[in-house]
């Protein structure tokens, strides 16, 4: 019984440790990713993250306001280029994908008229099997 309790405690401890490490890793990635939101951009005040496997896709819903330039930064892992992000309008027309630009970790979107968009983020299977995906957004007018 004591042995079972010990095993249970260790297993729970391992799970908690794993969960805490995932958070720590997301935070580290966010810190690295933040460098892409340069001083001209005002952070939108939110932190978006998702844990992805190679066949997963995270879906971010947002409204982009007219007359605004958005800086979208998308990161996973400790180096650039692991995350593919694509921006679609509500009719699922592709507006932008960094896949066409070597998985660039950031891109600016100049928005003329307010529109609702979905940003899909997925790991580049050639570079990562699983990981924390972080999306940061800044804006300027």
């Amino acid at each position: 019984m004591n042995m079972r309790t010990t095993i249970g405690t260790i297993a729970i401890g391992a799970a908690l440790l794993g969960g805490g490490m995932v958070q720590a890793q997301c935070d580290t990635i966010a810190t690295l990713c933040e460098k892409n939101i340069t001083a001209q951009y005002i952070p939108d005040g939110q932190f978006y993250r998702a844990l992805l496997r190679e066949d997963d896709m995270a879906e971010f819903n947002l409204t982009l306001f007219g007359g605004t330039t958005y800086r979208v930064a998308a990161c996973s892992g400790m180096s650039d280029g692991n995350l593919i992000f694509s921006v679609y309008d509500k009719e699922h027309n592709l507006l932008f994908s960094n896949k066409e630009h070597n998985n660039d970790p950031y891109w600016d979107l100049v928005v003329e008229n307010t529109l609702d968009v979905i940003i899909n983020a997925e790991l580049d299977p050639a570079k990562a099997n699983s990981g924390c995906a972080v999306l940061l957004i800044g804006f300027k007018r």
Binding site: D27, I42, Y48, A50, D89, N113, K127
Partner: protein, 295 residues
Amino acid sequence: MTLLKTINQALVIAIGLAFAACGGSGQADQVPQADTLAPAPQGPGVVKLGNKIFSIPSPVQTVMLLTEIKAPYAKELALPTDGLSRFATKEKQALALGVCGADLAYAAAYQDEQRSMKTLKAVEQLSGQLNLSNAFSKQLLKGFEANINNRDSLLRFTGRAFRSADMYLKDEQRDDVSALVLAGGWIEGLYLTLGTAGTQVDPRVATLLAEQRHTLENLIELLGQYEAASELHASLKDLAVPYAGVASTYKFVQPTTDAANKTTYINSVTTAEVGPEALQAIINKVRAIRAAIIA
């Protein structure tokens, strides 16, 4: 013996996890990346954080629009910074923190230094009550004070401070608090946008209100996950009724990309209009929700 073996395996897994998280930067060029994590609990397909990932527009952005249309500054609109102790529950404190975040951006955008400092103190107080003091680091707050004369810096500090708080809350798995802070900031942004005008609003303000329809839908879905937000959730569903009267159009136009400058121009054409009756109902409900939040 078998049990001991199992213990050993559990320890190996735990230690292995620890090393997996600590490793990293030096392995940057290896494929796959070093940050291999435990698989997400969801199955293949779309992963939604906390079941949903929504962006709520920053109140900083809303108040910047106000300055652009030269809306008059009305400092009496902001939440008085004394008497914050009346917000006794975590829900009320989280909403009030969001309100104060928007007020902080409002004061900063209109370069009301005195009000900015008072509101910053209110943010500090509420963040302390919510055990968020770690998120609003001293360095960040000092930076705010040091840049009190610089409007753009203050707005940036405000955005960074609230991102830091959002990250902290999500790390702590207090997503409900995070959602309430966002909701409080969003409602306050709308409330400030309405200004002191009674029933008449600038047509650009009316458009701005109409353009919030999708955000309102997102917020309703987001808050619907949390029991702590049930009262506000019901109020926002009421607000959605007049929002159904918003008429919007969308015409896709091919975007243009300037790869050298890492920029894409989104050229699609949209309109959002709201009739006078629905507009009035929206205005009344926004003011009522805000009054309930600060009661």
